[in-house]
């Protein structure tokens, strides 16, 4: 009998572990058969080594349901109040472009995370871990559905919002890169790698704080719906991200080198994606008057400090490429943004040219690197000045760009003075990598990555069109209504001023 005769109800802490610590002694199947290494991950350890697994939230299912119900009601209320097309039409154009970028990369990656969490809900090595992962799977289902619902309302106004759902189903080069990451991170990883890569590095290190930062920016811009959406998602992430630390602690105890490898690999892969998605939004697409800090400042304050503290707590080292990463903080998203602006018709959102005031701000925030980028934007500005407003292809690249054989993103690592790409011959094929860390990740497990073709290899193999317009339309899935353009058609107030004043400000 569970109840006390006097109260009839046990205190929460007295019954909770009956619902979350449900491991039992296996009798007709071995532990190794029930939790095979290929699904559960390595190091494979008997359950006794995992029995102390715990996380701070210790959420029961009724508590989960009640909490999620309240969050859903809150999102629905905000949607009712400010989720109409007319509400979005009042937002700054640049912000809307960042919204399209975020909206597309989010939902189906979250859906893939449902699969990763469900694998952990079955093959995680302790029942409390499995319980938390099950709630994580329900979280991720919700995170897939919220942006799909909210952005769907906007499709009739702007068809680029249709890429919220369409993105991951296309062969767009950004989608190929995102799938390459999401498939390995979320669909193909075993329970241990998923917990360290997704819960610890990706969520604790990046998305959790990224949502905080983007939520604050949304508040400043006046995008109450996005603020509510990412705030609501973040509250789930903060809970299920806690799965990662206790898994990492056990792996560190038994195989420190493997734990270090997973951290090094997944910090780099996560960084590249976040530099693009969040770096673009913070340093280019959010209107200058609403920016609170640069992407680099945000990374230092919200990501690096916490990540380095975590490494200390676990007795792990900074990734071997730390100096390369720090150089990337000054350069990488600037390299990719300028490149992507030049090939904006190959993506589903529009771009903004940084004007004289934005360039002055970027120079102040990035004194070491911006002098190398400023001449590029001056040249693009000059090209727009010589072209008719709206004539996008007069200010657009036509050559075929190159892609990394690991991250599948453009070869834009390093600096404008020294691009960091390198080639490698392996198994009779030549591979190219944007950076030493991407090459290192490939070299650690070449059989895992060697068969994948980047866009250039597909073009050279005749699997994708070599002509840029055909590539954009037939392979990337874009048409005139959806391919990226200059958000203002090159018709900027500062551009219309005299060339003399622009030169003085620049």
């Amino acid at each position: 009998m569970l109840g006390s005769p006097r109260t009839g109800v046990l205190k929460r802490d007295d019954w909770l572990d009956l619902a979350r610590k449900l491991d039992w002694d296996l009798s007709y199947v071995s532990e190794k058969d029930a939790f095979p290494e290929i699904q559960s991950g390595r190091p494979w350890l008997p359950h006794a080594e995992w029995a102390g697994w715990d996380e701070p939230f210790r959420t029961s299912y009724p508590e989960y349901v009640a909490g999620q119900h309240a969050k859903e009601a809150s999102v629905a209320a905000v949607r009712e109040a400010v989720g109409r097309v007319e509400d979005y039409q009042r937002l700054p154009q640049g912000w809307l472009e960042g919204l399209k970028l975020h909206a597309a990369t989010l939902p189906l990656a979250e859906f893939a995370a449902v699969v990763g969490n469900l694998r952990a809900a079955r093959f995680g090595r302790d029942s409390a871990w499995r319980s938390a992962a099950l709630l994580g799977a329900l979280d991720e289902m919700r995170h897939a559905q919220i942006p799909l619902l909210l952005m769907h309302d906007l499709v009739r106004w702007d068809p680029q919002f249709d890429w919220t759902h369409k993105f991951f189903h296309t062969n767009n080069w950004v989608a190929i890169a995102a799938r390459h990451l999401a498939d390995e991170l979320l669909l193909a990883s075993d329970a241990i790698e998923f917990a360290i890569a997704t819960n610890f590095v990706f969520e604790t290190g990046f998305t959790n704080v990224q949502f905080v930062g983007m939520s604050a920016l949304a508040h400043g811009v006046g995008d109450k719906m996005f603020e509510k959406m990412v705030g609501s998602i973040q509250s789930d992430e903060a809970r299920h991200a806690q799965i990662g630390a206790p898994v990492l602690a056990t792996v560190v105890k038994h195989d420190r080198a493997y734990a270090q490898h997973l951290l090094d690999k997944w910090f780099w892969r996560s960084w590249l994606l976040f530099a693009v998605v969040t770096g673009f939004a913070m340093d280019y697409l959010t209107p200058l008057e609403h920016r609170t800090s640069s992407f680099k400042e945000f990374m230092h304050e919200w990501v690096l400090d916490q990540f380095l503290r975590s490494l200390d707590e676990f007795g792990l080292q900074r990734p071997w490429y730390w100096d390369i990463f720090l150089e990337g903080l000054d350069n990488y998203h600037h390299m990719v943004y300028a490149s992507a602006y030049s090939y904006r018709a190959s993506v589903w959102f529009n771009f903004v040219v940084p004007g004289p005031q934005e360039r002055a701000w970027l120079r102040e925030k990035y004194p070491a690197s911006w002098p190398d980028f400023d001449p590029i934007w001056q040249r693009i500005t000059d090209r727009w000045r010589a072209s008719d407003p709206g004539n996008d292809f007069a200010v657009h690249g036509t050559a075929i760009v190159s892609f990394c054989d690991l991250c599948q993103l453009v070869l834009s690592n390093g600096t404008p003075r020294a691009n960091a790409a390198s080639t490698l011959d392996h198994g009779g094929r030549r591979y190219v990598f944007c950076s030493r860390p991407c090459r290192w990740i490939f070299e650690q497990e070449p059989e895992r990555y060697a068969g994948h073709k980047d866009v250039v290899k597909r073009v050279l193999a005749g699997e994708a069109p070599a002509n840029l317009v055909a590539l954009v339309q037939r392979y990337f899935g874009l048409d005139y209504d959806t391919w990226g353009k200059d958000a203002f058609g090159g018709d900027y107030p500062w551009l219309a001023r005299s060339a003399r004043s622009d030169k003085r400000e620049a």
């Binding site: 040249r379 404008p416 030549r430 190219v432």
Partner: protein
């Protein structure tokens, strides 16, 4: 046709350049500069590096031993 990965000093991205075996190195450099001209002005002498070493601009792609999907760099300034 020999596809090459070209990197122009001052630019933000590597580009795929389609060269012919009998193209001069100077022509290959010009192709890269032209492909990147939206971002980087074509001005002044340049030096082509292959395997990290300067290459004679009058030699050909075949002479230089450039293999498909090899990296070459175009740097500002005359050949030392």
């Amino acid at each position: 046709m020999i596809p090459l990965y070209g990197f122009l000093e001052g630019d933000t991205i590597g580009l795929l350049i389609l060269a012919q075996a009998d193209d001069s190195i100077a022509e290959v450099a010009r192709k890269l500069q032209t492909a990147a001209r939206l971002r980087v002005a074509i001005e002044g002498p340049v030096t082509v590096l292959y395997d990290g070493k300067p290459v004679d601009p009058l030699s050909t792609v075949a002479d230089a031993g450039m293999q498909p999907l090899a990296r070459f760099d175009v740097r500002r300034g005359p050949r030392a």
